[in-house]
Subunit: 455 residues, 2 copies
């Protein structure tokens, strides 16, 4: 039976399953407990909250901890509220410190105070100190429960420490080496412990880290640097070179996913939402969406002013193609700025080659502008084969060419300018630039028509 089938059957017979009152209930529950905790966690997030609470409470303790670790922050918070205080305290303590901090970020001040009380004093102090870091800085995403070794240890002694601490501290293929004062010295590889002689001192084999991340560094910069050096793990230090934690591939993947999602949101006229869709309150999401749309709507009223101003010109034939022409500029600029933004994200477009890029885009603008002018001429003439309208059709085509060239150039320059002023280039993609190009497009169209038609 597939996992999906099991889940569906459990939902259909949830009372039986919880009460264990029938053979079916007992056997479904056995199947359920054999499923991977990550899949159970996903299932609990997807279903009705009341059912999720009942099922979670019934899961045996050991599996409950595993399932809990795979839940999203939102579902963690939800299910924590259903368990008794002692279990809540145990569940919280079972999380690695950085995940615990992420979870606490979700709580109201009141809840936060209550939850902090449930932690052991030592954990509480660590959590509070971690919560100081910006959530999008290296400090906000680093893992802290990491095994480190001191430089004056031997391989043999290191293995002893490993045996003692292994289940409590995270172990990675790279083990960082510090001084007695916890300053970062470098790293050794896990396999060095296997391959080197037991008497070897760590400081004789320690290697220098290619990249050392400052705790205040922005996470996007961290991801770019790690990707340039092809690293999947990097140490995080304080301003005084004190080792604080690591960015591992887990965190790296998280950063890249988050930054990619943020870019998609910005390109589509959305403020990046910190929580996921269902976890963001309705009122907050409403406010974010409506405020941007209202700004775009009010900006668009400039087009009304322009159309009103050229009212006499825009009669009959010319008005018919108004929205076609207005939207072309927006489409072209969206397309162009997506290319630039992606190039900047990947680091391919840089200060060193930006003129080469702009030159190439200028050629591209002329090629695309010329082609679309011809396409629109043929299209409009085909449905209006009237020699007396040739001049009007010509002004439509010429407007399209001009609009395309302006849109490509603005679409490529504006992200670079934003970046120069340390603003996020992704802001320029999509609706904002498109709206400006709509308005500029109408202006270009009206002026070219006025000149050509001699009105």
């Amino acid at each position: 039976m597939s996992i999906k089938q099991t889940f569906n059957d459990i939902l259909d017979n949830i009372d039986d399953v919880i009460a264990q009152s029938s053979d079916l209930g007992v056997s479904l529950w056995q199947d359920f407990l054999d499923i991977h905790p990550a899949d159970i966690a996903q299932f609990l997030s997807d279903i009705n909250q009341d059912k999720a609470k009942v099922l979670f409470l019934a899961i045996p303790k050991k599996l409950k901890f595993e399932v809990f670790s795979y839940l999203s922050e939102y579902t963690k918070k939800l299910l924590l509220s259903t368990v008794p205080d002692t279990e809540r305290s145990a569940l919280l303590s079972s999380l690695p410190l950085d995940e615990l901090t992420d979870l606490l970020d979700y709580l109201s001040d009141e809840e936060l105070k209550n939850y902090l009380k449930l932690l052991h004093k030592k954990d509480r102090e660590k959590v509070v100190s971690l919560m100081q870091f910006e959530s999008e800085s290296a400090g906000g995403i680093m893992h802290t429960d990491v095994l480190t070794l001191m430089q004056d240890l031997t391989i043999e002694k290191s293995i002893n420490i490993l045996q003692r601490l292994q289940p409590k501290k995270e172990l990675h293929r790279v083990i960082y080496v510090t001084t007695r004062e916890n300053e970062l010295v470098g790293y050794i590889n896990l396999e060095d412990l296997v391959l080197r002689k037991p008497v070897t001192k760590l400081d004789s084999i320690v290697k220098e880290a290619e990249l050392i991340v400052n705790v205040h560094e922005d996470q996007e910069k961290v991801a770019q640097d790690m990707s340039r050096y092809k690293l999947t793990i990097a140490p995080v230090v304080s301003d005084n070179n004190i080792f604080l934690g690591i960015i591992d591939s887990d965190a790296l993947v998280g950063i890249i996913e988050q930054e990619a999602a943020e870019d998609v949101y910005k390109i589509s006229a959305l403020t990046p939402i910190k929580h996921t869709y269902f976890e963001t309150p309705f009122s907050k999401l409403y406010y974010q969406r409506v405020s941007i749309l209202a700004i775009l709507l009010l900006t668009q009223t400039f087009s009304a002013l322009i159309i009103k101003h050229y009212e006499d010109l825009l009669t009959g034939f010319l008005i018919i193609f108004l929205t076609m022409i207005a939207s072309t500029g927006g489409n072209v600029s969206s397309q162009t700025s997506a290319l630039v933004i992606q190039g900047l994200v990947s680091g391919e477009i840089s200060d060193a080659n930006r003129y080469r890029f702009l030159w190439r885009e200028l050629l591209m603008a002329c090629a695309i502008g010329g082609t679309l002018a011809i396409v629109s001429f043929i299209r409009v003439f085909a449905t209006n084969p009237d020699p007396s309208k040739l001049l009007s059709i010509f002004s439509i085509s010429l407007s399209i060419a001009a609009i395309v060239i302006v849109s490509v150039m603005l679409g490529s320059i504006i992200p670079l300018v934003l970046k120069r002023f340390k603003l996020d280039p992704a802001l320029s993609a999509g609706p904002f630039l498109a709206t400006i190009m709509d308005i500029l497009g109408i202006l270009i169209y009206c002026n070219i028509s006025r000149i050509i038609l001699g009105l």
Copy 2:
């Protein structure tokens, strides 16, 4: 002196540096050779190609290999063409097999044949067999030069093998264990070699893999599964469970970056480009961009038909707000579908909760539609405080409310429908849906105005 300064000075004095004809040239070259190979590789990709070739040729052999490994495929191909045949063969052989295969994907058939000749027979056979896999399948991205151990080995014997093979085979924190026939059995952790007794047999400590990836699996699915199980490494097997390679965190990061870039492209009316911006030929990029824009332009001519049909209605006051109204639908649908697409990518919106999602969006549609109707009423009335126009202004507001509700609902349903038919939901975001909403918007506006104004 900063790295950037060194690079600039080298470009300014490139003849001196290559000829080593002055103290400045000698000292700049020394500085250059001390820079991290990843940074040198980035520098060589950014500068003029002729200068890059000259500098690369002058780099000492060992560093040259390191720099080469950090270059993009495009620059690798470029610089390979400048080195003598023997060195070319050595550079090719220095790459891991999967990177070599990626590079060969870039070559013309003619070049490919010549390059394959340069490889040793055994490498050549392996490369040819790897090139059979789809480049976006697990087989196309897996790493193959991975150390595996057989299940009947002891810890002691395993360490011997590790000592012998370590520099040649990639080592990870997870080591996969196979039968003598190379069938996947499970895995041990690298630290097991340190912590377990030398006589322990591997099959007594081997753990079952949480996730086993089939070689034909799509890379996006692989990334989603790995992220659900919080894995940063997974084994790849053939249909007969023969171990073929691994997806490691490197590859995982690559997939996520590539899929994110593809989403950004699709949202912005671009076909995803396989190579990066500068590596895509001008003609190909031109064709991709202009063909989508031409389709959008021709689609927009439907709006011309509608406007022509309602020509008598759209005079004076109503025409002024035409583009404002048309663009609102596009903005709303882009915003909505970006939310859905991101929700589908992250797995948050699924079959299990799609009705909950649609219900929430319907409420959101009414809230946003109502608000924007009020905003537009105030805006238009403020500049046209004429009681005789109240009915027209009312029809503008009502049209905006209707358009917003239709746009939000289409923007949320269409990605779900596309997904249902196994099409990429990202296609629905941005220009395509926006263009349809522009046209629908004009239609809604004309009809509401006609009814309200009784024309």
